[in-house]
């Protein structure tokens, strides 16, 4: 009170009736200035983090998204051919002038220094859309300088694909600087002869099933971590501090162990000749021919990932439960609730922020998981990230990898938005 009075004493009113401070500056302005200074200081403090995020997060993600639509290969390699193809209706082979343009495009390319040549990337790009197109480009381009008119015949002699209308359709369709082809492929679709987007042959569909499986596995792992983590977190929260600290170390110890070590330990336990199967045989529950396949399938992924992600569920749950006064439960029981009703109506609702936070953490981490499924998941335990990694490292189709990654990112954002609408992100409590 005294302070407020002192503040008031400093305030005066000028002629126009505005509030001013002791040095005659209008109060509003003075407050604004102070506010601005505080904001600048705050901004200065967060700038390093913002810059860091921009450099290592926003920029690479933007670049990845750009790669999923970037399509320079055909445009760079075949400018004249694309021009000549402009009037082509996609029916029947294009005319001699197109083949002549192709020959001169290839000739120009051969004159460039080796590493600036566009025909290598062109072949790789076309092969994504049409098998054997890379061979058609690679085996033709070096002979083109010796080609004589009529060029159409020369090209047709050189590789059968130059006489295939579908190759020309691909060239025409992909002769644009931006493409949707990677997204089309990432959604198990392809272009038909008329340029419509249709489902792929059944035996080439991969990704949609994999997205669904990734979602399913992530949900299953999240639910399992809740079921396993809840009792532990509860027990820790009611124990005296020194015992609960000991338990906490048991929860955190695996958390501090290398991911690879933990996964390898699971391999030792789960394999057919592993500890679990051998023990079951030793006590006579199963016989030698009835060994369980606990890994190199979905179960391996679920078991190992549930264990690895458990701390992410236990920690937020524990921190929330610690703050729930035990007297609430006692009050409920003294008012006549059965233990179950008291738990359901009084205790559980108060832990929801912890469950929500743990579930979001576990779910979002597991949806992008990669090493553990690769090591113990076999085929049925593979997730979409394994496919993304394969395109990054082996097939080197970075455009497709980027499209798959972008779809995953958008999917996670949509799920988070739905979660926010249903539960409310303000109800998250991470500790």
């Amino acid at each position: 009170m005294a302070q407020a009075d002192a503040g008031n004493a400093d305030l005066m009113q000028d002629a126009s009736g505005q509030m001013v401070t002791a040095d005659g500056v209008p109060l509003k302005q003075s407050l604004k200035r102070a506010e601005r200074r505080r904001k600048l200081v705050a901004l200065g403090l967060v700038t390093p983090l913002l810059l860091f995020l921009l450099v290592v997060f926003i920029f690479p993600i933007g670049q990845m998204m750009w790669r999923s639509v970037d399509n320079p290969q055909v445009v760079n390699a075949l400018p004249l051919t694309l021009e000549a193809l402009e009037g082509w209706d996609g029916q029947g082979l294009p005319g001699e002038e197109v083949y002549a343009a192709l020959a001169s495009d290839f000739r120009t390319d051969m004159e460039r220094p080796r590493r600036d040549q566009f025909s290598g990337p062109l072949g790789v790009r076309l092969n994504y859309e049409l098998s054997a197109a890379r061979g058609a480009v690679a085996r033709t381009v070096r002979n083109v300088p010796d080609f004589e008119p009529p060029y159409k015949e020369a090209f047709l002699d050189s590789h059968r694909l130059w006489g295939d209308v579908s190759l020309w359709r691909v060239i025409q369709r992909e002769g644009r600087p931006l493409t949707s082809a990677y997204y089309v492929a990432a959604l198990d679709r392809q272009f038909d002869d008329d340029g419509n987007i249709v489902l792929r042959d059944e035996n080439r569909r991969i990704y949609i099933n994999l997205y669904i499986r990734t979602l399913g596995l992530s949900v299953a792992i999240t639910v399992l971590t809740i079921l396993l983590g809840f009792p532990i977190a509860y027990y820790m929260s009611i124990l005296p501090m020194r015992y609960s600290n000991l338990l906490m170390i048991f929860v955190l110890l695996p958390f501090w162990t290398s991911l690879l070590v933990r996964t390898t330990a699971w391999i030792v336990l789960l394999q057919q000749q592993g500890v679990i199967n051998e023990s079951l045989i030793a006590v006579g529950i199963i016989d030698d021919s009835g060994r369980f396949s606990l890994m190199y399938n979905m179960w391996g992924t679920i078991i190992a990932m549930t264990h690895i992600l458990l701390p992410f569920m236990v920690l937020p749950l524990y921190s929330v439960m610690r703050t729930i006064p035990p007297s609430y439960m006692r009050a409920a029981k003294s008012l006549g609730a059965t233990p179950f009703t008291a738990f359901r109506k009084v205790y559980l609702p108060q832990t929801l922020p912890g469950i929500g936070a743990g579930a979001v953490l576990v779910f979002i981490i597991s949806i992008g998981y990669y090493i553990t499924p690769a090591l113990v998941g076999g085929q049925s335990g593979r997730m979409i990230s394994n496919e993304i990694a394969r395109h990054m490292q082996q097939s080197l189709n970075w455009g497709l990898a980027a499209a798959l990654g972008t779809i995953l990112l958008i999917g996670v954002l949509v799920l988070y938005w739905v979660y926010n609408r249903l539960v409310g992100a303000q109800n998250l409590k991470l500790g």
Binding site: R114, R115, Q117, S131, R205, Q272, Y296, M392, S395, L396
Partner: protein, 368 residues
């Protein structure tokens, strides 16, 4: 013996030069990328150590990045910061990198040593092995191997057909998680002659046939990704037979004493070798190293440490005993006539053309 004398002499000359200070060479460190494990060890002992001894100013740093070599080369080239000096990779990837201009074209006769009898390098290397930008070192093969403990003595598998015969040879099989080799064997076991396999596989009917054959054992398959996994799965008894690289299986069987046997029937043969990244920082030093490391004696020396065949014809007669075990390496070479009776030579042109499509179909098949 004369070779050794020569290298001692060279070492002596180099040392003398350094003490004299007249020709003291700048120290240079070469980053050499290879496959790791027993394979890198064989290169260290056959190439790197003798070379560093003769050239004390050179330090060689090993990088086990070959499994993702093409991705690495591309990334380094795009970033404009090429830190690899020499890369060990497969010819199909080498051709891609060559087309993209991120590795150097090689003039084999100019840059590589001739055979001791004067045969130029281009004729001494095995036919079809040299690439525009590629210098082969070894012939390796992907083979079927099995754990002898897991089959009765009178019913040990002996052909690729056993891989697809779960009735007579029950148990799980480990296959690599990619179409290459698996589709070839499916057709081979289905009765297609080795030389016709790729013609058949280029047709939709042939592809259906291969996948139908694989379907018959699908429930018995465990997939592996890295070369080291195949012997591990066999040793753990997780599978009764596994496809794998012959050198890794040899290493597990002979060096570690695992009860593994190799089935040479239908072995799938391929080269492996060096490429030089364009824009590397030590290209001159690398070329000097390559001249040494790909000569007749050095390629034969590598076979002392791992059972891969040297890529030079002139090296074959020099292949002797394993450096540590003292066993004759000739009988373990994929190219030994006793083993080379029904080889399938991996067709890289086929896989560059059809690889994208078949990889998708194979991935779909695995997920079903």
């Amino acid at each position: 013996m004369s070779m050794k004398k020569l290298s001692i002499l060279a070492g002596g000359v180099a040392a003398a030069a350094i003490t004299a200070g007249a020709y003291a060479q700048e120290p240079v460190s070469l980053t050499i990328v290879s496959w790791g494990g027993a394979y890198t060890q064989s290169q260290v002992r056959a190439y790197h150590e003798p070379y560093m001894e003769a050239n004390p100013h050179v330090t060689i740093i090993n990088d086990d990045g070959s499994a993702n070599a093409l991705a690495g080369l591309r990334a380094q080239s795009q970033a404009g910061n090429v830190t690899w000096d020499l890369v060990d990779m497969l010819p199909s990837d080498a051709q891609l990198a060559c087309d993209e201009g991120i590795i150097l074209p090689i003039d084999h006769d100019e840059m590589l040593a001739a055979a001791p009898d004067g045969t130029p390098a281009s004729e001494d290397f095995l036919p079809g092995s040299l690439g525009e930008c590629f210098i082969p070192q070894i012939v390796y093969s992907t083979i079927l191997a099995y754990n002898t403990d897991l089959f009765p003595e009178d019913a040990q598998p002996d052909s690729i057909e056993a891989l697809f015969d779960v009735e007579n040879y029950p148990g799980r099989r480990a296959l690599q998680d990619r179409p290459g080799t698996n589709l070839e064997w499916a057709l081979y076991a289905d009765g297609v002659a080795p030389e016709d396999i790729y013609d058949v596989l280029a047709t939709p009917e042939g592809q259906d046939r291969a996948f139908a054959k694989l379907d018959t054992i699908k429930e018995h398959i465990v997939f592996w990704t890295e070369g080291a996994q195949a012997p591990q799965l066999l040793a753990d008894g997780e599978v009764v037979m596994a496809t794998g690289y012959n050198g890794r299986i040899f290493d597990a069987a002979q060096v570690e004493g695992q009860p593994f046997e190799i089935i040479w029937d239908g072995q799938i043969v391929e080269w492996d070798g060096w490429v030089v990244p364009a824009d590397g920082q030590n290209i001159d030093a690398v070329m000097e190293y390559l001249y040494f490391a790909t000569d007749t004696q050095r390629l034969a020396d590598q076979a002392k440490f791992i059972s891969y065949g040297p890529a030079r014809a002139s090296s074959a007669p020099l292949v002797g005993e394993h450096a540590d075990l003292g066993i004759d390496m000739n009988e373990h070479m994929p190219t030994n006539p006793d083993n080379y009776f029904s080889p399938i030579v991996l067709d890289n042109d086929f896989w560059t053309d059809y690889g994208d499509e078949l990889r998708e179909r194979f991935a779909n098949w695995m997920l079903q």
